[in-house]
């Protein structure tokens, strides 16, 4: 997929607009940071404005749903400029059949595609807020209308809503779910200022108010970021609705392909009753029973929730009532058979089975008993924090022995708290607070399983699924574009997308979520690559949970923008990696956080118009070596920009704590690295296939967007030509005046000397000459005016050119780059007496 040819007109309107620059060392990278409004009603068209970095030459917006399309907004031609279009505004049309949900949008730019940004579709009408920072300027919030706003720093947005006595509304402020940095808060007060309630973090980080008006009144809503932060990166979608709201669903899972009865707990439920007396915080929940057919998810909307929650197999479901759709909830797909947990007593469960239980009270400790065969490993997993954020289950296995008096004795022999850690670190943070383990019973016998919530949860919504089955190795993969940050250069984490500059590389980080006791290695490949982009398979080693794929452009590569897939293979089990992204960039990982989430597609862009600043080109990307031997890897250095200081090239991707490296002088054009594959090194090699790259770190004398200078220069040249033409025209026009004057004078002279018979014709001649002179003078004046206008246009283009020149001026920039992947096949040692 390629974007339409960039129109030079754009340069003049948008070159110096754009998003918030981040203090990072990365090369300029396109990022769609904001799109406002961040949603639209199905069947409607809306004009959106985009913001971010490197968006000046955006050619279009691509949505994850084919029913959402964008078109450029035309700008008519002017005297010196051809017709064009608005650079940062688009018209977005949503087809009527697009189901309400959260979709994604990426911007296609000169440098490639951006990382995706959420874009919501709703069935309700939409509005965009205006300045409303005081109660006096409170804006009307009609019921069942989405208000698009964004929080401003140190300010509170005010809305008013008219409600009649007894009217119940659910007021939601969606922010986290649309990639907003806003930690939303809502409060509601009556017209006299008496506040009834305020809320935050009820649904993830987003607030929810369930309010029943005590009297007819115009109520005042306040909406703000919890710490009064704000700006364009803090968008929200506020809605007051009488649609149903689901708090939780019990049981949390059912068997796919069946139709199962579920109890829905929430508010405004059709025919709902609070008879069960279930409370969540201060809210009394209604409940209804609904039969739901369970089937694979066909909707295209993003799953709500965090990364691990989104990976749980299941479907997203909404409750429809009188044309109003509830918030979406997840229903998991169970493994058979399902056992319903019973509170207060030890329960016997079978292998395999899935038990649906609940931490009823704080400090609850649920006991289960199961029979197991000695030596046969079992996979035991609890899904709780993936159902309700904040839960933190922990489990223990006790071996039961019975003494001669028939008394049972328990010995704790296994346990687990959190499985998985945080493999993405601060750059792609995702944590699983659930517990799981592979349990190998020491002997045939009966075992006890104890399950407890570490965070002291306990209540009707604290549901869990307890899975126990024989080990059947499986895994999930997540992949995300990765930024090769120069060491110690920055604490920033930029939102990244996969872009290959001419001759360069880009990294895809892959995370493996191992399940059911799977420990083996995973072969990783990339599918859908365009011609001229390559990525050799990488083995994610046994026991590890991360690996990097390095995609590199060959000389055959051409400009390309499209979507690729990362595939993991273990024997016959193929898994497509779920793409992931972070919601926003941060400047300091020690004090800020970013949110990781799964996304629909993995964009890849190849931009041959801009060359990678430094390319490390190994002489070969394939070596063979016997265990215990060294290889020498010669490489060349291609530079598109000058270096400041030396270039350090190190081996990257092998489990060294101190990777071998070489320092090269700034003018070096080649180098060589020696790498030992021995069993005695700190990197203990074993026979097999190893992949790694050469990572270079240096300071480049970077020149940004030289093409913009060229375009600006071309535009200036064009205008200069026009100016020149206009001036020539002006000169010609001016020059025509004198002959006309002379002709007139001659005619007048002739007229004065003429006889009566000649007079008449000579008078006509004088009149003609006068007219010609007037015409020449008018043409001259008009030509002069045009010169003035074109000169003004030239001044403007010169200013732009100057600015483009400023931007492209050489600046020191810390930079890291990777060579393409090198594969080394390590063979057993030749002198190994055992071989």
């Amino acid at each position: 997929m390629t974007g339409p040819k960039i129109k030079s007109r754009l340069i003049f309107t948008t070159l110096f607009l754009g998003g918030v620059p981040l203090a990072t060392a990365q090369l300029p990278h396109p990022d769609l940071q904001t799109i406002f409004p961040q949603g639209a009603q199905a069947g409607q068209t809306v004009e959106v404005a985009i913001g971010g970095s490197e968006l000046q030459e955006t050619t279009g917006l691509l949505f994850s749903h084919p029913g959402i399309r964008c078109e450029q907004i035309p700008v008519a031609a002017t005297e010196f400029h051809p017709p064009g279009h608005k650079a940062l505004n688009y018209r977005v049309s949503v087809a009527p059949d697009v189901a309400p949900g959260i979709y994604e949008v990426v911007a296609a730019t000169r440098l490639g595609m951006t990382a995706p940004r959420a874009f919501a579709v709703n069935s309700f009408p939409e509005k965009v807020h205006r300045a409303n920072h005081s109660p006096e300027s409170a804006e009307e919030l009609p019921l069942n209308t989405v208000m698009n706003g964004h929080a401003d720093a140190a300010a509170v947005d005010h809305y008013k809503i008219s409600l009649s006595e007894g009217q119940r509304v659910i007021i939601r402020c969606e922010a986290e779910s649309i990639d907003s940095r806003m930690d939303g808060t809502i409060s509601i007060a009556n017209s006299s200022g008496h506040e009834y309630n305020r809320d935050r973090d009820t649904t993830g980080r987003d607030p929810l108010l369930d309010f029943t008006a005590p009297k007819d009144d115009v109520y005042l809503l306040k909406v703000y970021d919890f710490t009064y932060a704000g700006g364009a990166h803090y968008p929200y979608r506020l809605i007051a609705t009488d649609a149903p709201h689901i708090d939780f669903i019990d049981p949390p899972a059912g068997i796919s392909g069946t139709s199962t009865k579920f109890k829905i707990y929430g508010r405004n439920l059709p025919g709902g009753s609070t008879g069960e007396g279930v409370r969540l915080g201060r809210a009394e929940l209604e409940s209804i029973e609904v039969e739901i057919p369970l089937a694979e998810n066909k909707t295209l909307g993003l799953n709500p929730g965090e990364v691990h929650s989104s990976l749980v197999p299941g479907m997203t479901w909404c409750l429809d009532s009188n044309g109003r759709r509830s918030n979406p909830v997840r229903i998991g797909f169970s493994i058979a058979p399902v056992i319903q947990g019973a509170e207060g007593q030890e329960q016997t469960i079978l292998v395999p089975s899935e038990t649906h239980g609940r931490f009823d009270t704080k400090g609850d400790l649920d006991h289960y008993r199961f029979q197991a065969k000695g030596g046969q490993p079992l996979w035991i997993e609890c899904i709780a924090s993936r159902i309700r954020r904040g839960s933190d289950p922990v489990l223990w296995i006790d071996q039961i022995t019975v003494d001669e008096k028939g008394i049972e004795h328990f010995k704790e022999i296994a346990g687990n708290d959190d499985s998985g850690g945080n493999p993405g670190g601060a750059s792609f943070p995702f944590r699983n607070h659930d517990c799981s383990l592979v349990f190998t019973p020491p002997v045939d016998g009966i075992y006890r399983l104890r399950l407890h919530d570490y965070t002291g949860g306990g209540g009707p919504a604290d549901l869990y699924r307890l899975l126990i089955c024989t080990v059947a190795p499986d895994y999930d993969l997540i992949t995300t574009p990765w930024y090769a940050a120069p060491a110690k250069a920055t604490k920033a984490i930029p939102r990244h997308s996969a872009v290959i500059r001419r001759g360069g590389t880009t990294i895809l980080r892959v995370f493996a979520i191992r399940r059911n006791g799977f420990k083996g290695s995973i072969s990783l490949t990339v599918e859908g690559l365009p011609a001229g982009v390559e990525c050799p398979p990488v083995i994610l080693p046994s026991g590890q949970d991360t690996a990097s794929l390095i995609l590199h452009g060959t000389p055959e590569a051409h400009n390309w923008q499209g979507f690729v897939r990362v595939i993991g293979t273990v024997g016959d089990v193929r898994r497509s990696a779920r793409p992931g992204t972070i919601s926003w960039s941060i400047g300091n990982r020690d004090t800020e956080f970013t949110r990781a989430r799964l996304s629909h597609q993995l964009p890849l862009s190849v931009t041959v118009d801009e060359q990678a600043p430094i390319v490390i080109q190994p002489a070969s990307d394939r070596y063979e070596v016997a265990l215990g031997e060294k290889i020498e890897i010669p490489f060349k250095i291609e530079k598109a920009m000058n270096l400041k200081g030396e270039l350090v090239v190190a081996v990257h991707g092998l489990p060294h704590s101190k990777p071998p490296s070489v320092k090269l002088k700034q003018d070096a054009v080649e180098g060589s690295l020696a790498l030992a594959f021995s069993t005695s090194n700190e990197f203990k090699a074993a026979p097999g296939k190893w992949t790694f790259s050469l990572r270079g770190e240096c300071t480049i004398k970077h020149r940004h967007n030289l093409s913009a200078v060229k375009i600006a220069q071309a535009e200036e040249d064009r205008i200069i030509d026009l100016e020149k033409e206009a001036k020539e025209e002006e000169a010609r026009a001016k020059a025509a005046i004198a002959p006309a004057k002379q002709a007139l004078q001659e005619a007048e002279k002739n007229l004065a000397a003429a006889s009566d018979t000649e007079k008449e014709s000579l008078e006509r001649a004088v009149a003609e000459k006068k007219s010609s002179l007037a015409e020449a003078m008018s043409s001259s004046a008009s030509a002069s005016e045009k010169v003035k206008r074109v000169t003004a246009a030239r001044t403007s283009t010169s200013t732009h050119l100057k600015q483009a020149g400023e931007i492209s001026k050489e600046k020191d920039r810390k930079h890291a780059t990777h060579s393409k992947l090198i594969t080394v096949v390590v063979k057993p040692a030749t002198n190994d007496p055992d071989k």
Binding site: H133, Y228, A229, H452, Y454, G456, T591
Partner: protein, 867 residues
């Protein structure tokens, strides 16, 4: 009328006579409460004889502090006599003025101050003679010639304590003094024995000639001693040490009992100004025996303005009216003597009690003869209650509406309105956030500190029962997103700090001392301390969702904390309770919350009602409010108990408690003293004015001047009282100079309530205040713009905004004169270039008189104080 009536003088003057009845009634009530065997005769009807001591028929005028024979054992045993002369208007200690006779002589001697010493074996009768009569009792002496073995912990260590040898500033400090170390206040007698007998090869003791022991030579000042002469040669204490050395430095004999408690006689006394009271202190041992330790116990008066005490246990009352106490310490045991000194003025026309607060307060005022001030005016009440409940000044509209309201129930309605408003939640959330140390030590901690403040505010707004509030706080687990109270664990990281804060904030027990040694003023030992710490021993932490946040959880395993001195690992142990046996998965903090919030907990409800009492009255029933030790007794114990009981019975209803306090007539008394109660600081006979807290003062100035404060990162118009964490104290000079706390401590005392020069200068002479007064949209400008209102109306508006009352005629006259005074702009020719450049516009000049007037009002005590 004299301020203090000396009822000891006789005859009773006619002016005093009306007092006799109520005082006598109280006395009778008191004696009945003491469980005395004597019964008040004739239903308490008095027999007035016209003499100085009106007698109650059937009651002997003289009595000993305890009955029965005195048994003395060994040559060095002593017994302090305490002789009381009962009168119908009180009791007097006459020990020092009575004359003692011993029959037969030779068995014991009695000193003029009533100390019996042994002379020989046998039995004798001691007769005390006094103007009111005489009284005898028997003393029996045994083993007078025997050399009884000395107990080092029971007899020698108390000598070190009494003479200050083992104090924290002397040999008792951790490193000792000049090479000689003793355990602090003798709490570790085993260690002390080792220091004396074994350390330095016993060089401090000369067994062959005890008097030449370094210990005694230095202690008596015979050799240079930095601490001076502490033991005079030949004194009882000196001799005791000599005897101990002679006996071979024993620790104690096998089977020697230990002290299980001490008691003081009398425990309580209704007395008079300048009266004296001899105390007798008895140590009760584990074997059931007891011993007089009056002369080796330690005494400390709580308030030396009210009573002083000698090292022999003689208490001398001072001039001030009220209740006071003397702490008595022996080894690790403490007891308290309480004295009430009445004024004795007529207490007439007390308003009817509105609730239990008034019942107790008025009863004591009657006892003391301390007439209360008048009820406060409506305007004063409105301003006071709005400040105390809602943390702000009343608005102009509120003032006008309240003052115009004729409903007799309007004060109650106002209290209800204020409690229902979010202003109450805002104000009290700030109060709790300070003691719960809601700090933002790094900018990215804001989410946590905001969330914690918001959680507190929400709990208060919805009137979450206090027991549930504390339970959710103390046993908090999870992440800040779901459970904001976990943020407390971010600031208060160490389990010792956690236990100390929880004990101080919710139980009023300051346990810090017991970390290193037995609490000097309480019964808490190191085992109590570490047993309490064990409740927090399983607090686990995991990384949270954002930098600077954590997941708090209960680690699995046995909860325990080690007493570093004994090395013993203690299980969780409630204060005064037994160690708990808890399951490994059980969160001990849940058990702590169970114990704390149990209705029978002796500390929990009393602490809270006392904290809130102090909030509204400026002084705790126990003061400091979070130091509720035995040795710091309440001024109104029954009130404290009743309030606590009522609080528990209400379901821990915090708003209900505020209602009870604010609807009492006591709270609504005027702060203007009458002729009797100017000096009253603890009986609530009037409202005690106090400076406005920093935030309320700043908000108040802003509301009067129509200024808006800007706090970093907060929306325009937020009031200082709504600020969530400590950050703004650093940022705002005003808040800092007026004492907003930095939230470093669990003690409310971190909030400075003093008045100092920096504050005065800031109010009188700062750009900050000047800008508030002189801005284009300031109150002065608005008043000037409001051409329709008369000058009088404008002045009235200002008074109603600042003081919640209309100006008096004189105030109005002065104001009008000042505002109407003709002002001539300065002659430009007399001005310098700069002055001309900075000269105010004519409009600005017109505002100046109003600015001056507002400035003057802001600097009045009436504005600066809650009164």
């Amino acid at each position: 009328m004299p301020r203090f009536l000396n009822l000891l003088d006789s005859p009773v003057s006619p002016a005093v006579k009306p007092l006799i009845f109520p005082l006598s009634c109280l006395f009778l009530l008191w004696t009945a409460q003491q469980g005395a065997t004597e019964e008040a005769g004739d239903n308490g009807v008095l027999v007035t004889t016209g003499s100085s001591s009106a007698r109650v028929p059937g009651l002997a005028p003289l009595r000993w502090s305890s009955d029965g024979d005195i048994l003395l054992k060994g040559p060095h045993d002593v017994h302090q006599l305490v002789l009381t002369h009962r009168q119908n208007d009180g009791e007097d200690d006459v020990t020092a003025i009575a004359t003692f006779f011993v029959e037969p002589p030779g068995v014991v001697t009695v000193s003029p101050d009533g100390l019996i010493r042994v002379n020989g074996n046998g039995s004798a009768t001691i007769t005390a003679k006094h103007a009111a009569g005489q009284l005898s009792r028997t003393v029996k002496v045994s083993q007078a010639d025997d050399l009884l073995p000395i107990s080092f912990p029971n007899e020698i260590v108390p000598i070190f304590t009494r003479h200050g040898c083992n104090g924290g500033g002397c040999h008792g400090k951790a490193e000792g003094q000049n090479g000689f170390k003793l355990s602090l206040l003798g709490y570790e007698p085993q260690d002390d024995h080792g220091y004396l007998v074994r350390e330095g090869l016993g060089r401090r003791i000369f067994r062959a000639s005890p008097g030449r022991s370094l210990l005694l030579l230095k202690g008596s000042g015979e050799l240079p001693h930095q601490g001076g002469s502490r033991l005079s040669r030949g004194s009882d204490d000196y001799n005791a040490i000599v005897r101990w050395i002679r006996q071979g430095l024993p620790y104690q004999s096998e089977g020697d009992p230990s002290v299980s408690r001490i008691s003081v006689e009398p425990r309580e006394r209704l007395t008079r100004a300048r009266a004296v009271q001899q105390l007798r202190v008895v140590a009760h041992f584990s074997d059931g025996s007891s011993k007089d330790v009056t002369r080796i116990a330690q005494y400390e008066a709580n308030d030396e303005d009210m009573a002083i005490v000698s090292d022999k246990g003689l208490v001398t009352m001072q001039e001030r009216t009220g209740s006071t106490s003397v702490m008595i310490r022996f080894q690790e045991h403490v007891d308290v003597f309480r004295a009430t000194i009445p004024l004795g003025a007529p207490v007439e026309n007390l308003p009817p009690s509105n609730n239990l607060v008034d019942q107790h307060i008025f009863a004591k005022l009657r006892t003391l003869g301390l007439p209360p001030s008048q009820a406060s005016e409506d305007s004063t009440f409105l301003r006071r209650a709005t400040i105390d409940i809602a943390g702000r000044l009343p608005t102009l509209e509120e003032t006008d509406e309240f003052l115009d309201d004729t409903d007799p129930e309007k004060r109650q309605r106002k209290v209800d309105q204020l409690l229902a408003s979010t202003d109450y939640a805002d104000y009290f959330a700030g109060k709790w956030a300070a003691i719960l140390r809601n700090k933002r030590s790094s900018p990215h901690h804001a989410r946590g500190s905001f969330a914690f403040h918001s959680w507190i505010r929400n709990a208060l707004h919805h009137n979450l029962p206090y027991n549930a509030f504390v339970r959710q706080f103390v046993a908090a687990s999870g992440e800040v997103g779901e459970n904001p109270p976990v943020i407390w664990y971010r600031t208060v990281k160490d389990s010792k700090e956690q236990l100390q804060d929880v004990a101080q904030i919710f139980l009023g027990q300051r346990l810090q001392c017991a970390q290193c040694h037995h609490h000097p003023y309480e019964k808490w030992s190191q085992d109590d301390y570490y047993g309490f710490e064990a409740f927090f021993s399983k607090v686990g932490r995991k990384p949270g969702a954002q930098p600077g946040e954590e997941v708090i959880f209960n680690k699995i395993g046995a909860a325990s904390a080690r007493n570093p001195r004994s090395g013993r690992a203690l299980s969780p142990k409630p204060l005064g309770g037994e160690e708990l046996i808890l399951a490994n998965h059980h969160d001990p903090r849940d058990s702590l919350a169970d114990w704390m919030t149990n209705e029978s907990n002796p500390f929990f409800a009393r602490m809270l009602v006392n904290r809130y009492w102090k909030h509204f009255f400026g002084r705790g029933i126990v003061d400091p409010e979070d130091d509720m030790r035995v040795t710091n007794p309440p001024t109104h114990p029954d009130l404290l108990d009743s309030l606590a009981r009522s609080f528990v019975e209400s379901g821990y209803d915090l708003k209900g408690l505020v209602r009870t306090i604010c609807n009492s007539r006591t709270y609504q008394l005027s702060s203007i003293p009458n002729e009797h109660n100017l000096d009253d600081r603890q009986n609530y006979s009037r409202f005690y004015p106090r400076r406005l807290p920093a935030e309320i003062l700043l908000d108040g100035i802003n509301s009067v001047t129509n200024a808006k404060e800007k706090f970093n990162g907060q929306p325009q118009g937020i009031r200082a009282v709504q600020l969530p964490d400590d950050q703004f104290t650093k940022e705002s000079y005003f808040l800092s100079v007026f004492g907003r706390p930095d939230m470093n401590s669990a003690c409310e005392c971190e909030r400075a309530d003093d008045v100092n020069l920096a504050q005065a200068l800031h109010l009188v002479n700062s750009t900050n205040i000047r800008n508030k007064l002189a801005s284009e949209d300031a109150r002065a400008a608005l008043l000037v713009k409001n051409g329709e209102a008369s000058v009088e109306a404008r002045i009235s508006e200002l008074y109603r905004r600042a003081f919640s009352r209309a100006p008096g005629p004189e105030e109005l006259t002065i104001g009008v004169q000042y505002l109407k005074r003709k002002r001539t702009p300065p002659d430009p020719s007399t001005l310098s270039e700069d002055q001309r450049k900075n000269a105010r516009s004519p409009e600005a000049m017109a505002r100046e008189p109003y600015e001056d007037l507002i400035w003057a009002l802001l600097n009045t005590k009436e504005f600066l104080f809650n009164h």
